[in-house]
Amino acid sequence: MARMKFLCDAERCIECNGCVTACKNENEVPWGVNRRRVVTINDGIIGAEKSISVACMHCSDAPCMAVCPVDCFYRTDDGVVLHDKDLCIGCGYCFYACPFGAPQFPQAGAFGLRGKMDKCTFCAGGPEADRSEAEFRKYGRNRLAEGKLPACAEMCSTKALLGGDGDVIADIYRDRVIRRGAKGVEVFGWAAAYGAGKPGAPAPKPAPAGGKS
């Protein structure tokens, strides 16, 4: 069973904001709402600057789901956390509960009036007919129903941002880390943290020292 996740490689992210732009364009996200953004630490310090791209992480035990007073959140069979905008009351509880600041609220009128919550959908639309006009208008493109992955991950020029099944992207990332010559990679990955996906699978062999990534 797929558990759709994002993974951002801070060694590769160059803060180009291509993912942010791809998301905006693909889903026609309204002005003032950023479903995805790039966060940089040690900005301007040579050698210490790191960036990662952050959006909804589609948590396995999502705090937004726990605090929602109208229970408008649901998790799809492939692990994507989505919500019903027809039910959302725009209270903002999910914004306070989310550790990633993923829920966004469009300004719906004068005096700072909040609209319905909007967040990354893993390009999986929402509870409307798949690939319909209503779904696009409320939630954006449903790329999963088109057999595609989220636009941000597929557009990433350095492939810093990976999107897909947690097991698969953890394997991709582990392979990269091995090629960089890191130690202790055999204990890294989704399966190591949350249970083996392939029982009895041998641990990957570390690359020889001095190998380039």
Partner: protein, 81 residues
């Protein structure tokens, strides 16, 4: 008279001590249930022309094609370039 006074004192003591009772204050969290509209699943759609191929309604075939697409993110193991 004495009995009435004793009864009143006992009643007052009982009323006064009711606030001293210790009730359970730990909230038992109940998982909410989704109240919105049902959603369709990605594999219940027909594949688009020129895109990934899967059999409508077959989850395994959809997952197979999306996994192939995921592996395209691995520059060392791309199956098509």
């Amino acid at each position: 008279m004495k009995r009435a006074l004793l009864l009143t004192a006992a009643l007052a003591a009982a009323l006064g001590l009711t606030a001293c009772g210790e009730s359970e204050q730990v909230v038992v969290y109940k998982q909410g249930k989704y109240q919105g509209k049902p959603d369709t699943r990605p594999w219940d759609n027909d594949p688009l022309a020129g895109g990934g191929k899967w059999t409508k309604g077959d989850r395994t075939s959809w997952e197979t094609q999306i996994k192939e697409r995921q592996l395209a993110q691995h520059e060392h193991k791309r199956i098509y370039q």
